[in-house]
């Protein structure tokens, strides 16, 4: 089983070896898609692979240690009314979460592929993309 999560943590929680613990103690395969830290804390986007029980255990471990855990679907949102389907975003999206259907000319947003990197946000001319984390 695989799942993508957005982690937010306080400066205190930033000092813990959480990735190591997810791997060593919860037997998860961890793919770090994005990580950043600043004076108010850190954000990380992880893809976790493993048994369902282990994923649940890992997420419980994170929550118990003060790490905010949210599904990736709450990472980036598209305002469908604002989108003009111009396609500016499709060439810059590193994970091809934004693609154009060549038949209809419509741009679709596949949230499962999105890693909330935010590259599309300031590239979108009608400002239809919003990052929530």
């Amino acid at each position: 089983m695989k799942t993508k999560v957005v982690l937010t943590f306080s400066p205190e929680a930033s000092n813990q070896p959480i990735t190591h613990n997810l791997i060593a103690k919860h037997h998860l395969l961890v793919n770090i898609l994005r990580a950043e830290i600043d004076e108010v804390g850190g954000k990380m986007v992880l893809e976790l692979s493993g048994k369902a029980d282990d994923i649940r255990g890992g997420i419980d471990y994170l929550k118990a240690n003060g790490v905010g855990v949210r599904p990736i679907k709450e990472g980036v949102r598209r305002d469908d009314e604002a989108c003009t389907h111009c396609g500016m975003c499709v060439s810059i999206c590193p994970t091809k979460a934004l693609t154009m259907d060549l038949k209809t000319g419509k741009v679709s947003f596949n949230e499962d592929k999105c890693v909330a990197c935010g590259v599309c946000i300031d590239a979108c001319p009608p400002r239809a993309m919003e990052i929530l984390i």
């Binding site: 500016m88 060439s91 001319p125």
Partner: protein, 370 residues
């Protein structure tokens, strides 16, 4: 028929039959068109004011006409908002029926004693509100890419470093002037679809350059013809008029334009049968900050639309800046108007010039400029 339908029809039935059977082809484009704006007559205040400076929602509008006429340009920017809010957004807000804040100052004269006003206006409260764009619907444009090591923010969008992507802005085979490459049916007075209502071509667009290099079928390979257009802002539809923001460049107006092309003869049918395979554009490196950037290669719109192109051996993902989805909508709406008899084809009252040199701005002495 829409331009897309016509191309399919010609493929199946040939040019001769298409010329016999089809009367009108509707084209369409929806893209960022910076040389756009609207003039507005606000009506007179009491006591009256001769406006010398005007702001609409904080965006400076051009005064310097008579007392209460102003022109708001699409790329005029609100100085306090980090290039994120400009004239294009104000125009969209007006079309959406919103009230916008009007501030104006004047010197105060015997006939116009008032020196300032701070109020709200909307399309309901003003006299004329007319979209008047001096350069729209470029007949072909460029492909932009970036060879440098840093991301560039341009009017051609976000260009990733080291040929990370390439952007292009023409609607290609759907675009009005691509289907009438020598301006046989499009000229001054042509009735068009503009921002969701009927408008007109009022002149050749600025930087009109019919002498651009062309392929053997007549389609320009570089930016060539342009249209200056006009229409009633009060009748426009926000579906086809949108304020856009290009990061670190500023605002621009996304606008839908459609031109009906009467199939006068076989030659016209052949022109309207043009496809993305036949239309070429030049790829330019926008990291070169000069007027004459070198051409990296020429590429067809079919390749651009496929999702990536080859630049110096690298597969580079491409992005259109003009919406094919909306361009098709424009051509379909225009077709439906014509079929319902709501829109009639207007023959131009005057054709565009056949040659027009494209001049540049250089630093000259008074004598050199005379």
């Amino acid at each position: 028929m829409t331009a897309s339908e016509f191309k399919e029809y010609v493929k199946a039935n040939g040019v001769k039959k298409a010329a016999r059977e089809v009367d009108v082809v509707t084209t369409g484009t929806f893209g960022a068109m910076c040389s756009s704006g609207a003039y507005i007559n606000f009506g007179h205040a009491d006591p009256p004011i001769k406006m010398q400076k005007i702001w609409l929602d904080g965006v400076p509008a051009q005064a310097g006409l008579a007392a209460v006429d102003g022109y708001i340009g699409a790329t005029a920017l609100d100085e306090t908002n980090n290039m994120m809010h400009g004239g294009a957004h104000v125009i969209e807000d007006l079309v959406r029926g919103k009230a916008v804040r009007l501030r104006a100052t004047g010197h105060g004269t015997d006939c116009y004693p008032r020196k300032e006003i701070d109020t709200y206006v909307s399309l309901r409260t003003v006299n004329q509100a007319v979209l008047m764009n001096v350069r729209n619907a470029y007949q072909n444009y460029a492909v932009a890419t970036n060879s440098s090591a840093k991301t560039l923010y341009t009017y051609m969008g976000k260009l990733l470093p080291e040929f990370g992507n390439a952007t292009f802005s023409s609607a290609g085979e759907l675009s009005p002037l691509m289907n009438d490459p020598y301006y046989r049916t499009i000229g001054i007075g042509t009735r068009i679809f503009l921002g969701g209502t009927q408008g007109y071509v009022m002149w050749e667009g600025t930087q009109f350059n019919p002498g651009a290099p062309r392929t053997p079928n007549g389609v320009p390979k570089r930016p060539a013809g342009t249209l200056a257009v006009i229409g009633d802002l009060k009748q426009m539809n926000p579906e086809f008029l949108k304020g856009l923001t290009f990061t670190r460049y500023g605002s621009s107006l996304g606008i839908g334009i459609g031109v009906p092309i009467p199939i006068l003869d076989e030659d016209m049918a052949r022109c309207c049968a043009v496809t993305n395979n036949d239309i070429l554009a030049a790829v330019f490196d926008y990291s070169q900050p000069t007027r004459s950037r070198p051409v990296l290669r020429e590429v067809s719109y079919a390749e651009l639309r496929s999702g990536d192109i080859d630049i110096k051996g690298k597969q580079v993902p491409t992005s259109p800046l003009s919406s094919m989805y909306k361009a098709r909508q424009v051509s379909e709406v225009l077709k439906s108007w014509i079929l319902k008899g709501e829109f009639t084809i207007q023959e131009p009252v005057q054709s565009f010039p056949k040659d027009r040199p494209l001049r540049t701005l250089d630093v000259r002495t008074e004598r050199e400029a005379t």
